[in-house]
Symmetry: C2
């Protein structure tokens, strides 16, 4: 397991399907690529007017907004987001992200590694 | 375990002692405060000319640089850092951060939760 130093923009970007219009993701650090022990760090980018599906799953999110403006829906409420916003979405809670600005909304999203998730069952 | 939405600047800041001149830290998300399952997200802020000690420990770091310019020493080499830099420091590897710019260097630093670290022994 070696060290890694890279600018996020040099990491390949993957777009989602129609369930998440205008949304793409870069895997910055992961167990598969880097041997990360507990969590995978991803950068999610949502274009103006784009959004993620309203969904829930058994794992948590730890977010930090790097650029742009948007909103996150958690459980039953929308909250405003801007640069510097921190969000913790606990496991099993309904959530959705959307871009409400004119510039891309970019935020970090940490989730447990695949190994930890497979051990959670 | 509830959701959390907050701007990082509203989270209390703690300064380090003389081993890390000009360096302070905010705990953004943690197991103790928020019930985070696998990792604690912190924001480290280093003033111009400040630095952290050159040290190593049994846990990893996952970093993302939010503002400012600096360098990170890993194993035996210094690497340049700027906004958008991603760094993975594996467990047990010697490392140090320093601010080489005129503005504060601010970067996210994720580490395993206290619970996970205590289970690692």
């Amino acid at each position: 397991m070696g060290a890694k130093i890279i600018h996020y923009s040099k990491i390949p970007i993957n777009t989602f399907g129609p369930e998440a219009p205008g949304t793409s993701l870069r895997v910055l650090i992961s167990d598969k690529q880097d041997g990360a022990p507990v969590y995978n760090l991803r950068m999610i980018e949502i274009e103006s007017c784009g959004y993620t599906p309203k969904h829930q799953h058994d794992w948590e999110h730890e977010n930090f907004v790097v650029e742009g403006h948007g909103q996150v829906f958690i459980k039953d409420t929308w909250y405003d987001l801007g640069p510097g916003s921190v969000v913790f979405v606990p496991p099993g809670v309904l959530h959705q992200y959307k871009n409400t600005g004119e510039q891309p909304l970019k935020f970090l999203c940490g989730i447990p590694t695949e190994k930890i998730l497979s051990n959670r069952g």
